[in-house]
């Protein structure tokens, strides 16, 4: 009897001990989602940057005070339903104590997840979208406490373009502005705020055109803008990596000869130089990041510490892809790689801060993000700032300089987007 009692007690103690061990050994899990394929083109660089970043974090970076991060990476193919479904799947499969932070990348995925992220799960969500609806005047941390954006809103981006027009308009009469935007949540976001601000500044908004991703021609759109005598055209809600952007710029260059073409972050990239070539020359755009890539890559200025770091990372961990560049399977655009890398560093910072100062759970990470003061590896001219508005409010204006040169037996575009302003903190502007 005694022997049996001894074994039962020992068994129960062993069970308690084991289950305690299992509880103590809970993992730190992270879900990252990027649009690496789909209508925006093939952008695996996001994932490569994130993979290299997380591998570094778990290796040389010593994880979260020595604890490794278990990370998951998903390609949602620029499809909001896939992004939402992935998030639902992971939250169902992993406990709240373990899955501590999630990321997304498009405006269309944010809205269906408002309740799920901010009310049900209460999980910090780091986002690549610059949605005005979520982080603009009518949104913000009070309404969406768990959403964090990595850049100034599209509304502020367009408003900044309007300010540039105001400062640089030399022709007689009020500036005449046309808006071309994509029929997506992305394209429609920020445009109404931009139009309202243009009207507030006394500009004439002469055209509002939805130009679809499935376009085979842009002649009608450009003729409409010409008929409306637009002097400035804002092109918003498009990736520079796509055929429809090339169609628009090539057509606009011929039909809208004296019109200043302008655009928001994702058009102000290297891709547009490559697909639009000379037609992109002179474009004025706003961006949330420093220059990542010139054409050819060797001409990229390396004075920005984060840009330099990203290039060094790519050279070290992806030498073949870095070397290939524009060829299939290469890193075509360093911005995308850097973005993945930045997510990895940011996640490590937030988790470590939470572990050191608060608690390593969702609430602790939220507090860490709310109180984080960081210079993002010197990305914005060394300026450190807090994330109280849940966005990085730094924007900069650029102008595209493209020149065709003969390389071997081919004429190829060279150049890049050159800054024409300092970093502007949009939180400090009175619009």
């Amino acid at each position: 009897m005694k022997k049996r009692t001894f074994f039962v007690v020992a068994f129960i103690l062993a069970l308690v001990f084991l289950s305690y061990g299992a509880v103590c050994a809970k993992e730190i899990k992270v879900l990252a989602q990027f649009p690496m394929s789909g209508p925006v083109g093939s952008l695996p660089e996001f994932g490569w940057g994130f993979i290299d970043g997380m591998n570094w974090v778990n290796g040389e970076g010593r994880g979260v005070n020595g604890k490794k991060i278990t990370w998951y990476l998903e390609d949602f193919r620029y499809d909001p339903t896939v992004e939402v479904a992935n998030f639902n799947k992971y939250t169902a499969e992993h406990s709240r104590d373990e899955l501590l932070i999630a990321t997304g990348y498009i405006t269309g995925g944010l809205k269906p997840l408002i309740e799920k992220v901010n009310v049900e799960e209460k999980i910090p969500w780091i986002e690549g979208s610059y949605s005005t609806e979520i982080w603009g005047e009518k949104g913000g941390p009070s309404k969406y406490p768990y959403y964090y954006s990595l850049g100034g809103t599209y509304g502020n981006q367009i408003k900044l373009l309007m300010k540039w027009i105001k400062d640089n308009h030399k022709a007689k009469g009020k500036p005449r502005v046309g808006f071309v935007y994509s029929p997506t949540a992305w394209g429609r976001d920020g445009t109404p705020e931009g139009i309202a601000y243009a009207k507030k500044l006394g500009f004439k908004v002469v055209a509002e055109i939805e130009y679809p991703y499935s376009a085979t021609a842009a002649t009608n759109e450009c003729m409409q803008l010409r008929k409306a005598k637009a002097q400035y055209v804002v092109y918003h809600g498009y990736s520079g990596a796509t055929a429809h952007t090339a169609i628009f710029f090539k057509t606009a260059k011929k039909i809208l000869k004296d019109v200043q073409l302008m655009g928001t972050h994702y058009t102000t990239l290297r891709f547009t130089i490559l697909t639009g070539q000379e037609a992109f020359d002179g474009y004025v755009g706003v961006s949330t990041r420093p220059i990542m890539d010139a054409v050819p890559r060797i001409r990229t200025p390396m004075d920005n510490p984060m840009v330099k770091l990203a290039h060094n990372f790519a050279k070290k961990y992806r030498p073949e892809e870095y070397e290939k560049g524009l060829k299939a399977g290469g890193i075509k655009e360093m911005f995308l790689y850097t973005e993945g890398l930045m997510y990895a560093f940011l996640i490590q910072n937030a988790l470590t801060d939470a572990d050191n100062k608060y608690e390593l759970n969702r609430e602790g990470i939220k507090m860490a993000l709310d109180n984080m003061v960081w210079d993002f590896n010197g990305m914005f001219g060394g300026k450190s700032f807090s994330w109280k508005s849940h966005t990085i409010p730094m924007l900069r204006l650029y102008r595209a300089r493209v020149e065709m040169v003969k390389m071997g037996d081919k004429m190829v575009p060279t150049g890049g987007v050159v800054p024409i302003s300092n970093w502007i903190n949009t939180d400090e502007i009175k619009w």
């Binding site: 010409r226 697909t275 299939a328 037996d409």
Partner: protein
Amino acid sequence: MIDLLQTLGSGVLVGLVYALLGLCIVIIFKSSETFNFAIGEFLIIGSFLFYTLFFNETIPWYKALQLGAVIFLFFSFILFYDKNLRLRIALPLGMVTGFLIFCVFFFGLKLSSLITSSFLRFAIAFPLGLLAAGLFGAMVERVTIKPLLGRSPIAMTIVTLGLGFFLRACVQLIWGSHAYPFFLDLPDITVEVGDLLFLSDPIWAGIISLIIFGLVIAFLFRTRWGLAIRATSEDQAKAMAFGINARFILLLVWGISALCIAVAGIMISNFGALQVSMGFVGLRAIPVVLIGGMDSIGGAMAGGILVGICEALAGAYVEPLGLVGFKAVAPYLLLLIVLFIRPYGLFGTVRIERV
């Protein structure tokens, strides 16, 4: 009035390219009652084949080798079933062709270093690219459609659906999914009269599409092969009884169709850039052929122009009223109206079927 002319003109120019796409669907449908849903993928592959030749775009050796090997296998084991022929003809032919394909994809055609004039380069690369696209279409027919001869046309149509996914994946593996800059630099023939402006690229697209359309019609109605194709379209069994090789006719039709799709793809890519996602343009052929009539060549032309004009008018006059995005829907709305009035399309043959 000027606006209307401008809109109609732009619509007609794009419509001519759509008409060519419609023609590709019609000739395949007439010969085998199959709807080629892989038209978008044919469009991309045809464009990429031309791109390789014209812009001297090369791919890594291991990909070029795989392509060469596929061609070799095709010639050796698929084209000829006879063992003797395989050894005497197919194996050497396969080796030579496979090697040529490897060389072109790995080393490039180097046209740009040999010929400085872009128009002359285009004049050489264009027929070569189209020939390659035609051969590709014939290959696809031999591998996927021929084994299904005698089965229900629905089976073939479903095969083209799967074929589309397969080919798309192949394109992504070979060329990736990013956009390739596409500048043909053809002589500038922009027409600008007062407020009327027609750009050079759409005019070229219209002219070349019209020429190819005309050549296909001439081939169908002025040659013995064309006569054989038409006879096979009328009644396959009877044509075979008269000694026409219906299997070869099908091969020919798929080849011609792939060639014409490539022309449309090249023209549309020249408006902007070449990208795998451009394949959706091929689906513009659906309203074109349903409006014009699935089995009418003239209907493809009428349907193409109507769809082009419809898109242009919707973009110019309806969208500014606040109905943004209407341009994309307009052709399907027109299709709905046409189908209500004429279920077989404007020029389609009315079929009376016993049920």
